[in-house]
């Protein structure tokens, strides 16, 4: 390869302007990574404090109002600033063009504008913290109309963030339709790209509905429109309908890219072709389609009609099918593989384990009768975190480790990273497993205070945050201090396209657009031995 003369993308230009005004998808991906990383840490600190407060019943370190503000901050920041834009915008930007054999995304400037919009939205969101919202991240009416907090500004910030997310989604979809290298047919497309495609569909088609919902909420506070206000003939449940029409597909915006990452990592470290490639690819699309049909399962106890409850409950079971298909296919890929327990692989295996727990407890909540008992308890909190942390964040960490050599051109200390993994894994389970029990015992979520008999479980959960935080700090420490020496182009003997170039890649990715002749996951077959 003649890339010796060409500078890699990290060296091509220095200083603030060379990053802030770049149209290089890799640099934009890295900037997203830094931005979401910062917000992740802020939101994680908020949750750390919230858990600390629960060390004892009654007031431990903060007032009830501070508590409401902090869990709202934690939830809305994690959802809107980290996890929704997170994996798709950072790793999607970095990887999609590399994986499909393109020099960039199709609208490079639009890509940069999306990032600026993200920053603008985040800035508005942060300014709103001057009078922080205490409504919970869902902004349910009527409280969000009455609350004295800065609801208008924070929802406007989220509106801008949604706009950024839509533009990124459009960019990715068109890129994957128009810029695949010759021979990169849809049935050779890496599964991360399939997942990113399904994610983008959801971003494009669901986000505008939350956009208008938040605009109407702003209108409600400004003009008293009355759509969501029973005193004016409106209906607060309608707000929940609109909100969840977006926010249920949004949970798949959060999890699908992580599923894509797992589908990339597992075959590499099992040295086997992925089992059921087509099933996994189509399952991503199926999830994208069905997820629009189930939003009402968040509203079983909201006063929604019994008829619609039954309909939504039945369809909710249907959405579990494509998800289960993926899990089974990953397991079959592992079966009789020659498994290498690298850090990325450990996170991926943990993903399968934790995500399965999260998914199965979701079925309890999708069942009408059980949900009446479990709704708005810690059971929901635990379920949701098993999916969002055990799923998405573990997938995100897997990606951070897996593509680390490609992104930064260096290697990291696997041993320390594995210790960090063990701490995070234990910490996570100690935090959230007790919350399943708390929830079934009747501990409601978002409550400042609790009955004394819950104290031991609450304390256990809080201790878990300390273990998890220690692990997270160790992970950061490890990743911030790469090993000396340059990373090889393909340290894991992976067969997909992004590993076929130097680490880190040159600014323009490919000197010549490659022609693809084989499926991506031909591990352990004749083709691999030849190469």
């Amino acid at each position: 390869m003649s890339q010796e003369q060409e500078k890699n993308y990290l060296e091509n230009g220095e200083g603030f302007a060379s990053w802030f005004f770049t149209v290089d998808h890799k640099r934009i991906g890295i900037m997203y990574l830094w931005a979401i990383g910062v917000f992740f840490i802020i939101a994680a600190i908020a949750s750390f404090l919230v858990r600390f407060e629960h060390l004892t019943p009654g007031q431990t370190i903060m007032t009830a109002h501070t508590y409401n503000v902090l869990f709202t901050l934690h939830g809305s920041m994690m959802v809107f600033l980290f996890i929704v834009p997170g994996v798709a915008a950072s790793f999607g930007n970095f990887l999609i063009p590399l994986m499909i054999g393109a020099k960039d995304v199709i609208f490079p400037k639009l890509n940069l504008y999306s990032f600026w919009l993200y920053l603008l939205g985040a800035a508005v969101f942060m300014i709103a913290l001057a009078a922080p919202a205490d409504t919970g991240w869902t902004f349910y009416t009527p409280y969000s109309i009455e609350s004295g907090a800065n609801v208008i500004l924070i929802t406007f910030g989220i509106f801008i963030l949604g706009f950024s997310s839509i533009l990124t989604g459009i960019n990715f979809i068109v890129t994957m339709h128009k810029l695949r290298a010759p021979g990169m047919t849809w049935d050779r497309l890496p599964l991360f790209c399939w997942a990113a495609y399904a994610t983008s569909l959801l971003q494009v088609l669901a986000t505008p509905v939350v956009g208008i919902t938040l605009l109407l909420l702003i209108g409600e506070r400004f003009f008293g429109l009355g759509f969501f206000d029973p005193a004016r003939g409106g209906d607060p449940v309608l707000f929940q309908h609109f909100f969840w029409f977006y926010s249920h597909p949004a949970v798949y915006i959060m999890i699908l890219p992580a599923m894509g990452i797992i589908s990339e990592v597992i075959p590499v470290f099992s040295r086997k072709p992925i089992f059921g490639y087509k099933a996994i690819a189509y399952a991503s699309l199926a999830i994208a389609l069905i997820s629009f049909l189930v939003w009402g399962h968040h509203m079983f106890v909201s006063g929604q009609s019994k008829l619609i409850n039954v309909i939504f409950s039945v369809i909710t079971y249907a959405v579990a099918v494509p998800t289960a298909i993926k899990v089974f296919n990953w397991l079959w890929t592992l079966y009789k593989g020659s498994i290498e327990l690298s850090t990325a692989m450990l996170y991926s295996l943990a993903f399968i384990f934790l995500f399965t727990i999260g998914g199965l407890t979701g079925l309890f909540l999708g069942a009408l009768a059980a949900d009446v008992h479990l709704h708005d308890t810690y059971f929901v909190v635990a379920h949701m975190h098993y999916v969002m942390i055990g799923g998405t964040v573990f997938g995100f960490f897997a990606a951070l480790h897996f593509w680390y050599p490609k992104m930064w051109g260096r290697m990291f200390d696997e041993f320390k990273a594995k210790i960090a993994f063990v701490l995070i894994f234990i910490g996570f389970n100690v935090i959230f497993f007790p919350q399943f029990i708390l929830g079934t015992l009747g501990m409601p979520r978002r409550y400042f205070n609790y009955a004394p008999e819950f104290q031991s479980l609450h304390q256990l959960s809080t201790y878990g945050t300390w273990i998890g935080a220690a692990g997270f700090i160790l992970m950061l420490w490890t990743l911030m201090r790469p090993l000396p020496g340059k990373a090889p182009g393909n340290p894991y003997r992976s067969l997909s396209l992004e590993w076929s170039m130097d680490s880190p890649p040159g600014t323009f990715n490919f000197d010549e657009i490659p022609t693809i002749t084989e499926p991506v996951y031909n591990y352990g077959t004749k083709i691999e031995e030849e190469s």
Binding site: L205, H241, F242, F292, G303, S305, K306, L307, I308, I311
Partner: protein, 93 residues
């Protein structure tokens, strides 16, 4: 590439749209009872279809564009169908 139709055909389409606008306003002068809204929506959809097919060249676009142009209509239908079903199947004590 997209060089379809002529100026004359565009103007013909416009005349058709003007005619349909007259039909819209005209139909509103009569009371069809429960059919008022469906009739108005059908005429509006014909107009919208004409604009999309001819002015927006959907007629000449590939299947993919058709999918992206029509799928949101399905989602819109879902949103309205489920919320309306909920509203009018609630049992108020």
């Amino acid at each position: 590439m997209d060089n379809h139709g002529s100026y004359k055909s565009l103007i013909n389409i416009w005349i058709l749209l003007m005619f349909l606008t007259v039909v819209t306003v005209g139909a509103a002068q009569f009371d069809f009872g429960a059919w008022n809204v469906p009739i108005a929506l059908i005429i509006a959809s014909v107009k919208a279809g004409v604009v999309a097919l001819h002015f927006m060249h959907l007629k000449h676009e590939d299947g993919l564009t058709w999918v992206f142009a029509s799928y949101p209509l399905f989602l819109l239908f879902l949103l309205i169908a489920f919320t309306v079903t909920d509203m009018f199947s609630r049992v108020v004590n």
